[in-house]
């Protein structure tokens, strides 16, 4: 397996959607290739950072105002239906 092939099958590997023989080949490659083992760690960090976006998002949010707007919208809809 070349490094160029490795980076294209990495997601299938991380998602556990790969043939066992390919999995074994990938795991051997990670052991012998520093560049690709760094690449895997970079990808894990990337996914970790993506997971932090939720917290970041909540910080800047004025959720209450948005929630109030939604509630008035709902009540207007409800009144129109009655």
């Amino acid at each position: 397996m070349t490094c160029r092939e490795f980076v294209e099958v990495l997601t299938d590997y991380l998602e556990d959607a790969i043939e066992p023989c390919v999995r074994a080949e990938i795991e051997r490659h990670i052991v012998i290739c520093r560049g690709c083992s760094n690449y895997v760690e970079e990808m894990r960090s990337t996914v970790g950072l993506l997971g932090r976006m939720v917290a970041e998002d909540a910080d800047g949010a004025d959720g209450d105002a948005h929630g109030e707007q939604l509630l008035s919208m709902f009540r207007a809809w409800q009144a129109g239906r009655a």
């Binding site: 560049g35 998002d57 929630g67």
Partner: protein, 224 residues
């Protein structure tokens, strides 16, 4: 409780959804609040992958909820309620993004179908003439040496957001639901109406691009 024996097993998501749909049709406010609590924040985040501005994204979400309410009598339950809500959001956010495109220099409306880009640029690997063809010419670095405040800083998260905004829309949908929201793959497939294989391809392209954007950003800091 009704005096009839209920099927064994936990109350399914379907039953729960059917009850919510019925309550909404009666105009039940609690049902609406439940739905907003369950999906509201996710809808805003997904909308923001199309329209950058938070206020605009919230408007799109509000329009989505109104469309849900106005359409609830016609909702037939052929897809799950969540899938239906996210489809409405996705369509409205795309329409809105087209309208706002002039003010947003992002290419999130690029076609996914035409995107067969490699995960890593070809010039990072040794070419065919080389004995080690296909192996790294410029290998990725080890991010674990980066100071934590750089790896996890606000500026880094801002770069991640920008990278998501530049993704073709389907890739952005998948990476937001999978990696930002933490949904399992099968639910993402259901919500977006795509196959498992397609979901993985979109996730692969999206993650690869976000990683590449971060690599660029961290490299800037190393030389600057």
């Amino acid at each position: 409780m009704p005096p009839v024996a209920l099927p064994a097993g936990p109350r399914s998501e379907n039953d729960d959804e059917r009850a919510l749909v019925a309550a909404l049709r009666r105009g039940d406010e609690t049902a609406f609040v439940t739905l907003v609590e369950r999906y509201g924040a996710s809808l805003v985040r997904l909308a923001r992958t199309f329209v950058r501005d938070r206020a605009v994204a919230e408007e799109v979400v509000q329009e989505t909820w109104l469309a849900v309410l106005n359409g609830i009598d016609r909702f037939e339950g052929r897809s799950s309620l969540r899938t239906w809500i996210f489809q409405i959001l996705s369509n409205r956010a795309k329409t809105r993004a087209v309208r706002e495109r002039r003010s947003a220099p992002f290419s999130s409306l690029a076609s996914d179908g035409e995107d067969d880009a490699a995960a890593v640029d070809a010039d990072r690997f040794r070419d065919e003439s080389h004995r080690w063809a296909g192996h790294w010419a410029a290998a990725p670095s080890d991010w674990s040496h980066l100071p934590e405040e750089r790896l996890l800083g606000q500026e880094t998260l801002a770069r991640v957001r920008e990278a998501i905004e530049r993704l073709p829309s389907r890739q952005a949908d998948v990476i937001v639901l999978r990696d930002v929201e933490g949904w399992p793959p099968d639910e993402v497939c259901a919500a977006l109406g795509i196959s498992d294989g397609n979901q993985r391809i979109l996730l692969h392209r999206a993650r690869s691009k976000v990683r590449a954007a971060l690599e660029c950003y961290f490299a800037e800091g190393a030389t600057g």
